[in-house]
């Protein structure tokens, strides 16, 4: 087993290439970035706020938001602070930047200036560069995170962390498999080791950077065992590079008991596994994402989905909640719609804040099954890598031991097919090559068979399609019409 932490010198060598890859990279100085980070007051530090949330059993709300131009972006963030009451702020990066296509992003900026409206689906941080990013950070009073979907986020991380962003979403799996088509896993994992090493360096030097693997993956009927295994693996990869503040995520599946069980298992198993692998000091928190699949186009119905997600996040005991908006099915939300999503969510969460919650009995069973599933997958991945996490992940995807439903990447087998059971739980219809125990596979089969009987039809892609559409059409389970 090779020492997984990147050597500092090797890191610095790569770093030169990274910073040279686009003109704005030249402005970045590590020491300057550290100074900026260290000077931040604690209430604007993501890691601190997340830890406090866990300790105080609070649930912090965070929107997604990003537009083409800097001033407009600042106005948007301020609006979400004041009118939305966001506890934590984002900067969502546009899709050209995510693919490293800075020339296209530049064109998008120009055309946005001409059209005097944002034509990009996010904030092109790399093109705007260090000083402008710093202006964003300085314009807000809440901790602020970079949210994106970038397989090679090295330059983006260099610029934004030096600018004072204190949290950075993503990982070598979760920002590759659901977001790209041909990027090899080996490459994205290596590039993300770089990002984690950078965040680890900041951490070691007194400026902890919060890192958050992207839990929801494709957002579409993802069986919890797959999401949890990937989240924990990405957590391990980050810890290996010196990251300590970790927020593991899970996207609402829609079945309350399953969602609650999943977030709890995620917390428990992560603590166990990180401890076993030598990271008992990992500072782990949990983020819940309101429904990540297709939304109902009707705004009133969207509010229903949003509010219900808020309630489940509370029941599940999340520390942070990523909030959707009533525009979700339509397009990038206006700032007003974004703030509406936040306020609807806040109302539910704070009406529940004082109410005790006791898990329904069925949650225990789901927790047990799920914990065994995740353990089985993790064991097999680490076995394949002979203890090396990165190697294990690459081998696991090749073997279908990790397999994300509906993902676009050609490096994902795509053999797993999920479907809901009669009670709405996401189950495995085709388990692909997931290394799950036989009794558990039988459990999935039985639960699905129950639904097939009740609906009087065979299980098949039609049923899966119905399930994909269900929430957008006002149900959870896609019953036959």
């Amino acid at each position: 087993m090779t020492a997984p932490t990147l050597q500092w010198n090797a890191f610095l060598e790569t770093r030169e290439e990274v910073l040279a890859s686009w003109p704005t990279g030249r402005d970045v100085r590590l020491e300057e970035g550290l100074a900026v980070q260290r000077a931040l007051p604690e209430e604007r530090r993501f890691a601190t706020r997340m830890r406090e949330a866990r300790e105080q059993r609070a649930l912090l709300l965070q929107p997604r938001a990003g537009v083409s131009l800097v001033d407009e972006h600042i106005r948007l963030l301020r609006y979400l602070e004041t009118e939305g009451g966001a506890d934590l702020l984002p900067t969502t990066i546009d899709a050209y930047t995510r693919q490293g296509n800075y020339p296209e992003a530049a064109r998008g900026i120009e055309r946005s200036v001409v059209a005097s409206t944002s034509l990009l689906n996010g904030f092109p941080a790399v093109n705007h560069g260090l000083a402008e990013c710093r202006r964003v950070v300085e314009s807000v009073s809440r901790p602020i995170q970079v949210r994106h979907g970038t397989p090679d986020a090295r330059l983006l991380a260099e610029i934004t962390l030096a600018a004072g962003f204190t949290a950075f979403e993503g990982g070598g799996i979760s920002y590759n498999i659901p977001y790209t088509k041909r990027v090899p896993l080996e490459r994205s994992l290596t590039d993300w080791q770089y990002v984690d090493r950078l965040a680890g360096h900041y951490t070691a030097e007194g400026a902890p950077i919060n890192r958050e693997p992207f839990g929801p993956l494709t957002g579409t009927l993802v069986p919890p065992c797959i999401a949890l295994a990937i989240g924990i693996l990405e957590g391990l990869l980050a810890l290996e590079q010196g990251v300590r503040s970790l927020t593991l995520g899970y996207g609402q599946g829609g079945q309350m008991i399953q969602d609650i069980a999943a977030l709890q298992v995620l917390r428990e198993l992560a603590a166990e596994v990180f401890g076993e692998r030598g990271f008992p000091d990992a500072d782990v928190t949990a983020v819940f994402h309101q429904w990540m699949g297709g939304f109902p186009p009707d705004e009133a119905k969207a509010f229903g989905v949003i509010a219900w997600g808020a309630a489940v996040a509370w029941f599940a005991g999340a520390d942070k909640l990523i909030v959707k908006t009533p525009h979700e099915a339509m397009g990038i939300p206006s700032k007003e719609a974004n703030a509406q999503g936040l306020r609807a969510t806040r109302q539910v969460v704070s009406m529940l804040a004082d109410q005790p919650w006791a898990d329904p009995p069925a949650a225990a069973r789901e927790r047990e099954v799920l914990a065994r599933e995740v353990r089985a997958i993790l064991d097999r991945v680490l076995e394949l890598g002979r203890g090396d996490v990165k190697a294990g992940v690459v081998a696991a995807f090749a073997a279908g031991v990790l397999d994300v439903p509906f993902a676009p990447s050609v490096h994902n087998r795509g053999r797993v097919l999920p479907v809901r059971d009669h009670e709405g739980f996401i189950r495995l219809f085709h388990p692909g090559s997931l290394p799950l125990p036989d009794d558990i596979l039988a459990y999935h089969r039985d639960r699905i068979a129950e639904r097939a009987r009740a609906e009087g039809r065979d299980i098949g892609f039609a049923m899966v399609t119905d399930d994909i559409y269900a929430v957008s059409k006002g149900r959870l389970v896609g019953r036959p019409r």
Partner: protein, 148 residues
């Protein structure tokens, strides 16, 4: 196109767009509906659509764009088709075509102006779309005199 083989569609998600779920469903749906489908998946440049259409002797290209950059990504696609010899291929586009909630009539106008034959919002009834597609293809097959 001969009458005997099923009409051929080239399908894909344009630009840097990674939304793969709708694409999977579109493929399954149009195959089930009796079309031959060449599915290019996500993150497809304009030229890849055109290459595939030429190679497969396709009757129509179905472009998806979900992520908001549809306008940027689709600009010039009709001209490029003509340039590459696909003079009268049917061009359909659908999804969340522009950034932000926008009245669909406005969206349709913009994409029709770019030369797309039909423009669909995300909330499209696919049966309806397939019906229109069959009609449009039918019309092209018939001699102009008959349709006129």
């Amino acid at each position: 196109m001969t009458a005997s083989r099923p009409p051929t569609l080239v399908l894909g998600v344009i630009g840097s767009d990674c939304h793969s779920v709708g694409n999977r469903i579109l493929q399954a749906f149009f195959e089930e509906a009796g079309f031959r489908v060449v599915n290019l998946g996500v993150i497809v440049p304009q030229d890849e659509f055109i290459d595939a259409a030429i190679e497969a002797e396709a009757d129509a290209i179905l472009v998806s764009s979900l992520y908001g950059h549809g306008e940027l990504d689709c600009a010039g696609m009709r001209e490029r088709c003509i340039e590459r010899g696909l003079d009268d291929i049917l061009l359909y586009v659908g999804g969340n075509l522009v950034v932000g909630k926008t009245p669909f009539d406005e969206v349709r106008r913009r994409f029709e102006a770019m030369g797309f034959d039909r423009v669909f919002p995300a909330a499209t009834d696919l049966e309806e779309a397939a019906h229109l597609l069959r009609e449009d293809l039918q019309r092209r097959r018939q001699p102009a005199a008959v349709t006129a």
